[in-house]
């Protein structure tokens, strides 16, 4: 590579990256500022956003048998029976298991919303 070509290449790379970043950083700042103004005008403010902490949806109940929690009422017994049946079904026959405890997983979004999302994004 000749010195002239090298110089030209470096000039193009530097100019290109600086201009692209300058343009897009400028747009980031502008759109961000507009966003702030609009959320303030609409009266919601940024408080709601800050309090809205979405947690990671954790794995299915299958993985939580070691955590202890009391299971008392009849209704919960039914739930335990249903979960045990589901686990037995997944594991197949001939494999014994003991359900020591069942704990409700903290959800970031309701199960039905999650199922809907999964169905909608499946083709992707």
């Amino acid at each position: 590579m000749s010195p002239e070509s090298l110089e030209l290449s470096l000039v193009v790379i530097l100019t290109g990256l600086v201009v692209v970043f300058a343009a897009l950083i400028g747009l980031t700042a502008l759109i961000w500022a507009f966003g702030k103004i609009f959320t303030t005008i609409s009266g919601k403010g940024s408080k709601g956003d800050k309090n809205e902490k979405v947690e990671a949806p954790k794995a299915e109940t299958k993985s939580t048998p070691t955590v202890s929690a009391a299971v008392t009422t009849d209704e919960e017994d039914d739930v335990v029976a249903a979960i045990s049946a589901a686990v037995a079904c997944m594991l197949g026959s001939g494999k014994g298991f003991v359900v020591r405890s069942i704990r409700r997983v903290k959800e970031s979004r309701p199960v039905w919303a999650q199922a809907g999302l999964l169905e909608n994004t499946k083709p992707f």
Binding site: S5, S9, G16, V19, F21, A23, L27, T28, A56, T121
Partner: protein, 379 residues
């Protein structure tokens, strides 16, 4: 006897003027390549909307004596090619894309712009690589580098201005790699990120008002065009399309731009770009180098986006999933789908699609700006 002689002479004349006698080996090879590309488009579904007309244009251009190459002085394809040569088709395609694009995720999280900028790294590094090879002029190297923008119309626009003789190989490389994004990107994304980073669940995006969506295209057009006037025709048409969509008052125009008009332009663009690939131009070591450099461009673009995503992960204290960075290489919406897919593999309950759409559409603006810079410096 006279009749038989004349009959033989006539048949000989037809034979002499037929393709069978006049075909060159380059034309035969190119017809073979066109058939392979047609197979990829039809049977494998590789960007069929563009690869099919491009491949058929290639076939037409290499028919002996048919005079259907874009470089010929007359004929159907020559006139259709004027739309490419004069820079008309790519901005019109952008008009349709603007009508189909929802910039909501980008407005909700404008930091996506930065990822869209970082993913343009591939363009400039590939430009350097092409220059280092020593077989390309600066204008040719820039046209090859723009493949890294992963944006077909932008690549065609830049090439038609800077190096029109390379339109065929560059268009084929750009669209082929765009179809291969789901294969090219995931290994790079996995290589550059840790399992913990890939599992990051991002907070839900805020809802964006209609007024914001209407102001956005006007604002972007003004800012980008003031800074890089050479990008104005691409960005301007993209944003006109988007304004038609978001304003909601010209639904008829929006529908036409994203359906009929875009389909018509796609046919003209595909066929005429394909018809630039004649044997003499396409069958050269340069084409091979373009195909290799195109892959490098895609790789570096993806890496640039992901690495910037990692930086954002660190600065946001783990709130940004670096996987959305790879979507910065335009290729809408394929690259965003890839981010979604790779993220969901690590955490089935993670939905990165909308978060990745921000950098994805920012990548379109970013590559248009990069194109403007290259044209301004090297024209």
């Amino acid at each position: 006897m006279m009749i038989v002689d004349k009959f033989v002479a006539a048949v000989q004349g037809i034979l002499q003027n037929s393709g069978f006698v006049n075909v060159t080996w380059q034309q035969l090879v190119m017809i073979g390549i066109a058939c392979v590309l047609l197979y990829l488009a039809i049977a494998r579904g590789f960007e069929p909307l563009l690869l099919l007309p491009i491949a058929f244009g290639m076939l037409l251009a290499n028919l002996p004596l048919a005079n259907l190459a874009a470089s010929s002085e007359t004929g159907l394809i020559h006139y259709l090619y004027m739309g490419v040569k004069l820079g008309i088709y790519p901005p019109l395609i952008f008009l349709g894309i603007g009508c189909m694009t929802d910039f909501g995720p980008l407005i909700a999280n404008p930091k996506g712009f930065l990822l869209g900028a970082a993913a343009q790294l591939g363009i400039f590094l590939t430009f350097f690589g092409a220059m280092a090879l020593g077989i390309f002029s600066p204008a040719e190297a820039a046209s090859i580098g723009i493949i890294g923008g992963a944006d077909g119309p932008t690549a065609i626009y830049v090439t038609s201005i800077l190096a029109p003789h390379l339109l065929g190989p560059i268009a084929v490389a750009a669209y082929s790699y765009m179809a291969l994004v789901p294969i090219i990107q995931p290994p790079i994304m996995k290589l550059l990120t840790t399992k913990k980073e890939r599992q990051v669940v991002m907070t839900q995006l805020r809802p964006v008002s209609r007024t914001e969506k209407i102001i956005f295209p006007i604002l972007v057009t003004i800012v980008v065009s003031f800074l890089v006037p050479d990008a104005a025709s691409l960005v301007g048409m993209l944003m006109l399309g988007n304004l038609m969509r978001e304003s909601g008052v010209v639904e008829r125009l929006s529908k036409t731009a994203q359906n009929e008009l875009m389909n018509i332009i796609t046919i003209f663009l595909g066929v005429s770009v394909g018809a630039t690939a004649t044997g003499e131009v396409f069958l050269s070591p340069q084409t091979l180098a373009i195909i290799c450099l195109g892959l490098v461009a895609f790789g570096f673009g993806t890496a640039g986006g992901v690495l910037f995503g990692k930086l954002m992960y660190i600065f946001s204290k783990g709130k940004v999933n670096p996987l959305i960075g790879s979507a910065g290489v335009s290729a809408v919406p394929m690259a965003a789908r890839v981010s979604q897919k790779v993220g969901q593999k690590e955490n089935p309950g993670n939905f990165l699609l909308m978060h990745a759409m921000g950098p994805n559409v920012a990548g379109v603006i970013g590559s248009a700006v990069a194109a403007g810079v290259l044209i301004a410096v090297l024209k």
